[in-house]
């Protein structure tokens, strides 16, 4: 038996619904249809009245979840695509994110964002929004890269009292598999060393973890041992694990699928440069998508995002600096 990343997300929601009557799911087509990606398949039948189709209204969906959370519910809302969350942006960053600081009332909502690029998805179904939401105080931003994390971190997202933007990667939905769902889990907020190495550190998250691991494998043949860190949660960012790794390797490349301006890779480099400058043997580098809207044609898309090939090339530069 094996479980996909998408099945893990579904299983986590099923468990959350079963264990806590305060949990409900709201979003476009999440009911009988089971969601655009089937992340809520069968849940409406299993939990009548607690998995409901919403109107096509991202602002109202998130606002509704916030009101429900104020009253003690623990809503999970699905944005059909991360890109569409921009329509609910105001409620996420101004209403949900400010509630606890302003009023001392926490806001336990989970906003699921099917994120990142896939073949032929184009400019409006491919975006990575994690940096934008991380910029605002008051939001936890999870970016699971593995089946196990998709499951355990979503359960954790539902259980904590704060708003969580849960960036699940669409490319990983069907292809990433694990033998079984985990019984124990590493908590959110902790980064994981996905691959140990001594020559350079790659700091990454989400789908880029898998490209980075592949790049590291490529470089083994050239005699390099690359350490790969999966951030798992981009806010909070586990700077300690990153710095400890850089202390061992002396070199760092930050890789993200999002656009380069600002963002998670910029934050990682800023922290390493300000807190670990003395640990560095070379200037830290980063690799992001190109600074254009995400293109539609598969060939353009493949060249737009970082891949194992481009990550390996950037690592070669870093290692010979």
């Amino acid at each position: 038996m094996s479980v996909t990343y998408l099945e893990a997300i579904r299983a986590a929601q099923e468990k959350a619904l079963a264990e806590d009557p305060r949990v409900f799911i709201y979003g476009q087509d999440v009911g009988v249809f089971g969601g655009a990606f089937k992340a809520t398949k069968n849940l409406a039948a299993e939990f009548p009245g607690r998995v409901m189709d919403s109107p096509l209204s991202e602002d109202a969906i998130v606002g509704m979840a916030i009101g429900a959370a104020i009253e003690g519910a623990r809503p999970i809302v699905e944005m059909q695509f991360a890109d569409f969350s921009t329509v609910g942006f105001n409620q996420i960053v101004n209403q949900a994110a400010t509630l606890y600081y302003r009023t001392d009332v926490p806001c336990p909502i989970v906003v699921r964002l099917p994120s990142g690029g896939t073949l032929g998805a184009g400019p409006f179904h491919s975006q990575s929004m994690e940096a934008i939401y991380s910029h605002y105080p008051g939001i936890v931003v999870m970016t699971p890269a593995t089946v196990e994390d998709a499951y355990s971190m979503l359960l954790e997202a539902v259980s904590i009292d704060d708003p969580v933007v849960f960036c699940e990667h669409k490319l990983l939905y069907y292809h990433l598999k694990a033998e079984k769902l985990p019984d124990t889990a590493m908590p959110a907020g902790k980064a994981r060393i996905a691959r140990a190495g001594r020559d350079a550190t790659v700091v990454t998250y989400s789908a880029m973890l898998h490209e980075s691991l592949q790049a590291a494998e490529e470089l083994v043949q050239e005699g390099w041992q690359i350490e790969v860190i999966d951030l798992r949660t981009v806010k909070p960012l586990d700077t300690d694990t990153v710095l400890a790794s850089v202390a061992r390797t002396g070199r760092m490349l930050a890789v993200g699928e999002a656009w380069p301006w600002g963002g998670v890779t910029a934050e990682v480099i800023a922290r390493v440069a300000t807190e670990g400058f003395g640990l560095l043997d070379a200037a830290p580098m980063r690799l992001n998508a190109k600074e254009t809207p995400v293109p539609y044609h598969p060939d353009l898309w493949a060249a737009h995002r970082p891949t194992a090939t481009t990550i390996a090339a950037r690592l070669r530069q870093l290692l010979t600096q």
Binding site: P55, S57, G63, I66, G67, I70, E71, V105, P236, R271
Partner: protein, 320 residues
């Protein structure tokens, strides 16, 4: 209404004296509608007021003391100096704390009602208000539409006070009447004269009752004129002088006083005495709030989430 007017008159004078921390946004001329919006709510109901609802806030249970605490930035106010003026609230008590983005409270109040229904509670009502300008926002539309689809007991009170900041109605909406929107959303709608306290009470009583009985969202559109600027920084020079002289420009407090006198419920001297009483309450609250301390930045918990282990410890802020 008298207490709200006395509070706001004091706020205006404090603003002019430079004693308020931020802006002052008053509901002068909207007291009748605002009071009526909240007065039929019970404990357990939800009230999501907007900027001109000083009167409704008091009717829902907010205190004059908390009003001054918030405007003066007292650490003992509900917002502890972290947010000011009209943004105050006590969400745990069903008194939601608005954000500045108009329309945004409509789906939030709807969500509160949704959660109550999921818990099996019935007979609960949620009221939120908005101005003519706010009806142009996406959140207003999305929120009412969602509430209508879910048949939530939401009452949306629209104060058509003729201007959104300085923008007149004819630059704000093109439908003949804002009430036409109710039909578009498939919900019940009522119109009333917002300068007439008796009419406001009658209409809101009907709307709240109907929502409580399970008839889905209700919309009330009241016509009036805001008798002050958008905020106290605004002299409202753009307001058409003829509106001020028209029926819509009447002061609801004067209309109310006449209604009480005509029905033999209160004489002018009674109202004068109540006004004095309200002014004394305002003075007492102000004196108390003025003696309270503001927040201490060095003691402030600079933390925007409640889950301690997920606080980002390396934000680039200076180390302690």
């Amino acid at each position: 209404m008298l207490l709200a007017r006395a509070t706001e008159d004091k706020l205006a004078s404090l603003y002019r004296a430079g004693m308020i921390k931020g802006g002052v946004f008053l509901g002068k001329g909207q007291e009748a509608l605002s009071t009526a919006s909240a007065i039929f709510l019970r404990k357990g109901d939800i009230f999501g007021p907007l900027i001109r609802d000083q009167a409704g806030r008091l009717a829902f249970g907010d205190t004059v003391l908390d009003t001054f605490r918030t405007y003066l930035g007292s650490a003992q106010g509900p917002m502890r100096g972290r947010d000011g003026n009209i943004h105050r609230g006590r969400p745990r008590e069903g008194y939601y704390a608005m954000i500045s983005h108009l329309g945004a409270m409509v789906p939030v109040v709807a969500g509160g009602l949704y959660a109550r229904r999921l818990r099996g509670e019935t007979g609960v009502v949620g009221v939120t208000s908005i101005g003519d300008g706010g009806t142009s926002t996406g959140a207003f539309h999305e929120g009412i539409n969602l509430a209508a689809v879910e048949r939530l007991p939401l009452v949306v009170v629209i104060a058509n006070n003729q201007y959104a900041y300085s923008t007149p109605n004819n630059r704000q909406f093109a439908c003949g009447d804002l009430l036409d929107k109710a039909a578009g959303y498939g919900i019940a709608g009522y119109k009333c004269d917002g300068t007439d306290p008796a009419a406001c009470l009658e209409t809101l009583h009907m709307a709240v009752q109907s929502a409580r009985e399970g008839n889905g969202p209700q919309m009330v559109v009241a016509t009036l004129l805001r008798l002050v600027g958008h905020g106290e920084h605004d002299d409202a020079g753009y307001v058409d002088a003829s509106l001020r002289k028209a029926n819509v420009g009447r002061d609801c407090l004067e209309v109310g006083a006449n209604q009480l006198a005509e029905n033999g419920l209160a004489r002018p001297e009674d109202i004068a005495a109540w006004t004095k009483e309200a002014q004394a309450e305002v003075e007492a609250a102000l004196n108390k709030a003025q003696r309270e301390k503001g927040p201490d930045p060095s003691a402030e918990e600079w933390c925007a989430i409640s889950t301690a282990r997920l606080i980002d410890g390396h934000s680039g802020a200076e180390e302690e």
